[in-house]
Symmetry: C2
Subunit: 236 residues, 2 copies
């Protein structure tokens, strides 16, 4: 990683001088000190994109939800737990970014209240209810925040879907004002949460859908080439 | 691990010939294909106990909830996701065990229903409710299952608490018919979920509480020495 860092400094890649901001991993929404709502995201796809962007010369900041030990070399990592934390850290940085890529699997809901002590099971055996409220939509809020800027960052979303994948992804692209969205059927074999491979479709506002498949590292490079490098002059 | 395995075979330790069954890690209770209720358990304390028991000569089976990469060398590991899975795998094995140690942080509730497709956020922004039902109490069911056996396994529970720790642990010990319980204030510094150290109090039916503190490996050895080795003749 040190060698890659030095190489990036002396032989600037196509993203040299660019600031790339990413979110990665899940969020956790606690209902008491020991229980939360979350999802199986391991942050692999987001970290693969972060390292790929670094290798292309960008300076990279990752706002990272709770994941196990991961390779942080060469990256600025901001650790967060909840969707609210993630939104705050992203909104404080997105205005300065050249590219914002939202790969995190942000919880859409959180428990309305968080008990100060572990909730005991008590005697009741019947159904209980947990009141949920919506969390901030990190990507939509980031998009709104930069909408009026003269130099707005390129905005890339991810759509982890289980059905009507392209339709849901296209709808997100439009509604959140994105430049591109990476659609992912998380139920497909060799794709989705925790796997080392992925199979995605990249949708842009104008171009036709492009499919990418392979290791998450290869897919990460493919996404960056497609969205950030191909449009630029080779020796720009 | 191979060396340790060979050593254990040729120089039987104090637990040689004993079958130790453990649970470790969290469980995940899904509400749709991508969202679940869980807790921050990483399985470290349970796996430390599993390896310590193996080093003392036992053959060890771990029923393991979803955790990251862990050292499985020398252990039989049964991977599970939900409390229901864990209960099934434990109840099928506990009758044959000499010792059952329940370290897993089993979810006490699960969503009443699990949607076949990812639940979309929809347009509503007000509170929504998630109906929860109780999961099987793995340790209590295991205890009931072996209660009538001529050679009942030694039953050891864990109590992860955030307040009135010893009182809650003592109540669990009695209610679930255990031989010992390891009480753990998960909010104390250097204790609880994801840390490499722990500070616990071991309660038995008769003896006075004993405190253990140190790395999870050292605490694991201490617990086994205290509960399984000290009572036996040294060269039994």
């Amino acid at each position: 990683a040190i060698v890659a860092g030095v190489a990036a400094r002396f032989a600037p890649g196509p993203l040299a001088g660019k600031r790339v901001l990413l979110t990665a991993g899940p969020t956790r929404e606690f209902l008491d000190p020991v229980r939360f709502i979350s999802n199986p995201s391991t942050g692999k796809m987001g970290l693969a994109l972060a390292h790929a962007a670094r290798a292309l010369g960008a300076s990279v900041t990752v706002v990272l939800g709770p994941v196990g030990a991961v390779d942080r070399a060469g990256l600025e990592v901001v650790d967060v737990v909840s969707a609210e934390d993630m939104a705050r850290e992203v909104l404080g940085r997105v205005g300065e970014a050249d590219v914002f890529i939202a790969t995190a699997a942000v919880s859409d809901w959180r428990p309305e209240t968080r008990a100060a002590q572990k909730v005991k099971k008590g005697a009741a055996s019947g159904p209980e209810t947990l009141k949920l409220v919506r969390t901030p939509d990190v990507l939509a809020e980031a998009s709104r925040k930069v909408a009026g800027q003269a130099r707005r960052p390129v905005l890339v979303g991810f759509a982890a879907e289980t059905e009507r994948v392209l339709e849901h992804a296209r709808e997100k692209l439009e509604r959140k004002g994105l430049d591109a969205i990476v659609a992912n059927d998380v139920t497909a074999p060799g794709a989705g949460f925790g796997t080392d491979t992925n199979r995605v479709t990249v949708l842009t506002r104008a171009g036709s859908p492009r499919e990418l498949q392979g290791t998450k590292d290869a897919v990460a490079r493919g996404i960056l080439e497609l969205l950030l490098v191909e449009q630029r002059p080779a020796n720009g």
